[in-house]
């Protein structure tokens, strides 16, 4: 990007040179849109590609707009303003670019996922299903059991660790824990899966796949997330509350359980919900640690356990003679998964909003 030198003397006077009217950028944008749409229509008619390429239109519009607004502004407002407008256009484009995959993704999942989003899909497992039909009950049960178990393991550990870091931790141990918790958030999920598999393989022989192994893999991913969010929430509790409690002669542990935790409980629950939302979509660790199956399995300690993301994956990868049935199930599963994750995110936000502490800050 060309540097706008602040000492540029080519503009005689900013006041005299005038500014672009408020509507001018919109006119330029409209012109860019029309030009790119028309040119794409022309290409579409001339070439073999009959489809009207929306992404192409958006990108071309962005490029044309940037060029247009830069030149217009350069002529009327001068170099510095022109650069400013160019950057504004660039920043807006960046945001639009990020929206494109999101919109495309949601559109695709919705159009493909609704084909099998029916009652049978939520009341059947895949046991004894050949070809079309079948459902995801076994995968939902597996996901629920493994995620809940992971939460049961990681929430106490994570919360207590956060309490240690905020209320007790000093010195090297605390610093080491903070550092490695941060590092742990970056562990690839597949490594967590390999870890859980290794643990069980060493004790029960190779090839073992268990629901509990999947849960342990998930909790390895979940613990650092819980620690981080709980830590942040506990830090938000004003020190005055603690001091008031101490002044009344309340022991420290009672202060924590009766004052600090209740004050921050909404934030903690939000954090935990978000952590659950994060692990519920994990595929790789469960593929390795818990395997896949077509049957309903309620027992974490015996046999393979299906989960929703793994089911989406395996339906996509191993299709039978009627591939469309498998693909439809994969997309419908993906839709369910997205809905679950978004619902969890929504719940987290609602908790944060309605259960927020009413302390004066």
């Amino acid at each position: 990007m060309s540097q706008a030198t602040t000492t540029d003397r080519s503009v005689p006077n900013t006041y005299a040179s005038g500014l672009l009217g408020k509507r001018v950028p919109w006119y330029v944008l409209g012109a860019a849109l029309v030009i790119s749409a028309v040119s794409f229509l022309l290409i579409g008619q001339a070439g073999d590609e009959a489809s009207f390429n929306i992404v192409g239109v958006v990108l071309l519009t962005a490029v044309l707009y940037m060029a247009g607004i830069f030149v217009t502004s350069l002529l009327i407002e001068g170099r510095r303003k022109a650069t400013d407008r160019l950057v504004t256009a660039l920043v807006g484009t960046a945001f639009t670019i990020a929206l494109l995959p999101l919109i495309s993704l949601i559109f695709t999942v919705l159009t493909n996922g609704t084909a099998r989003f029916d009652l049978e899909f939520f009341t059947y497992s895949m046991r004894s299903i050949v070809g079309a039909g079948g459902g995801i009950v076994h995968a939902l049960v597996g996901t629920l059991l493994m995620t809940l178990t992971a939460a049961i393991i990681s929430v106490p550990v994570g919360l207590l660790a956060a309490i240690y870091l905020v209320e007790y931790g000093r010195g090297n141990i605390a610093r080491a824990i903070t550092f490695f918790v941060d590092v742990m958030t970056g562990i690839p999920s597949i490594v967590a899966g390999l870890f859980a598999y290794s643990v069980f393989a060493i004790f029960f022989g190779p090839g073992i796949k268990l629901g509990i192994a999947g849960a342990i893999a998930l909790s390895v991913i979940m613990i650092p997330i819980v620690v981080r969010s709980c830590e942040d929430m506990l830090k938000l509790v004003p020190n005055e509350l603690r001091e008031a409690s101490y002044a009344l002669g309340v022991p420290k542990w009672l202060t924590i359980t009766k004052v600090v935790l209740p004050t921050s409980i909404a934030g903690i629950m939000t954090g935990v919900t978000l952590a659950i939302a994060r692990v519920v979509g994990e595929t790789a660790p469960l593929l390795i640690a818990a395997g896949f199956t077509n049957n309903l399995n309620y027992n974490l300690f015996d046999g393979r356990m299906q989960s929703l993301p793994v089911m989406v994956y395996s339906q996509y990868v191993s299709q039978g003679t009627d591939p469309q049935a498998y693909i439809d199930r994969a997309w419908a599963g993906a839709l369910t998964l997205i809905l679950i994750v978004m619902a969890l995110n929504l719940v987290a936000r609602l908790i944060a909003k309605y259960f927020a502490p009413k302390t004066g800050r």
Binding site: E49, V55, D84, P101, F180, G281, L287, A334, I338
Partner: protein
């Protein structure tokens, strides 16, 4: 961020409840360190056989020595993640600036949530989307690039017939790390001292000049560490790459051909379900290497953040 939430050091009476509670908390804290150590230890134990046994015994290696097998995977892992980062970082900075300094205040939170939605999409769904929607969509563009710009080594022909190249995988990765980098840089940009910004504006700077002179210098360490975290995430991403990338081995920088290097994580996911015996150990050994790489990347990122914290604490 205000850290000093600790209580003043007054000698309080030690109660039994206090002692139990504090030691439980300490145990939980150290448990985390133990888990991390256990991850490393178990992976190490399980991967030793793959390194010590005769490579001939391991089917997957097909007679190659261990490192010859791993090298293209390590290359592919780093190469795809680097490409993803190259695309994601500028866009993320743009989005973060848009949300923090350009969008109307009332919209900003909502826009941030929309970007966060991207982070909520599970990686299998990204995989499905990348393989079925993105790859066919970009394929004509790839053909055009190889035909017209084929003299650039990166765009060397022949173009893949399906579009499932390392560039497509990198685009999917970029979309996936985008929300992570955006969220962090946005936070940093919002922390820019308002006085600095106002001072710049008062001196007659345009908005861009204000950002260039006040916001970006302040946010640089934040951008770097956010990028490193995004890199760590891209390095370890598994399912999306496994479903999108056409990996047929070999080290090559060509972006648009159908033979691309694989990545460690995707390779594990593709081979593990069928692996047995020493093959499993071999895959775990590659996982250990991935663990080491991400560990180093994350440590560097955290180190940068930590340094900045001390720096800004003095502010």
């Amino acid at each position: 961020m205000t850290t000093p939430a600790t209580t003043p050091r007054i000698k309080a009476k030690q109660r039994l409840g206090d002692r139990i509670f504090s030691s439980t908390a300490l145990t939980a804290g150290t448990l985390i360190l133990a888990v991390l150590a256990a991850v490393a230890a178990f992976l190490l134990v399980e991967s030793v056989p793959a390194l010590t046994e005769d490579p001939e015994e391991i089917d997957i290696l097909a007679g190659q020595p261990f490192w010859a097998y791993v090298a293209p995977l390590v290359f592919g892992t780093i190469w795809s993640a680097a490409l993803a980062l190259l695309m994601a970082v500028p866009v993320s900075i743009g989005i973060a600036l848009f949300i923090s300094h350009y969008a109307p205040r009332k919209l900003a939170a909502g826009l941030g949530y929309i970007i966060d939605l991207l982070a909520a999409v599970p990686s299998v769904v990204f995989g499905l989307w990348g393989a079925n929607v993105l790859a066919p969509a970009v394929q004509p563009f790839y053909s055009w690039l190889t035909e017209n710009l084929g003299w650039i080594p990166l765009f060397a022909p022949p173009a893949s017939g399906t579009g499932r190249t390392i560039l497509t995988a990198a685009i999917v990765l970029a979309v996936m790390v985008l929300p992570i980098i955006t969220a962090l840089t946005r936070e940093v940009f919002l922390q820019t001292p308002v006085l600095h910004e106002e001072a710049a504006l008062a001196l007659g700077a345009t908005r861009w000049e204000m950002i260039r002179t006040a916001v970006l210098p302040f946010g640089r360490p934040g951008i770097i560490s956010a990028s490193m975290l995004g890199l760590g995430r891209a390095l370890g991403e598994t399912m999306a790459v496994a479903m999108v990338l056409s990996a047929s081995g070999g080290i090559t920088f060509a972006l648009l051909t159908s033979s691309n290097p694989g990545t460690i994580a995707a390779n594990i996911a593709l081979r593990f379900p069928e692996a047995f015996g020493l093959n499993t150990n071999l895959l775990i050994a590659t996982g250990l290497i991935l663990f080491a790489i991400t560990l180093v990347v994350n440590m560097i990122a955290r180190w940068i953040i930590g340094r900045r914290k001390e720096f800004s604490g003095a502010n």
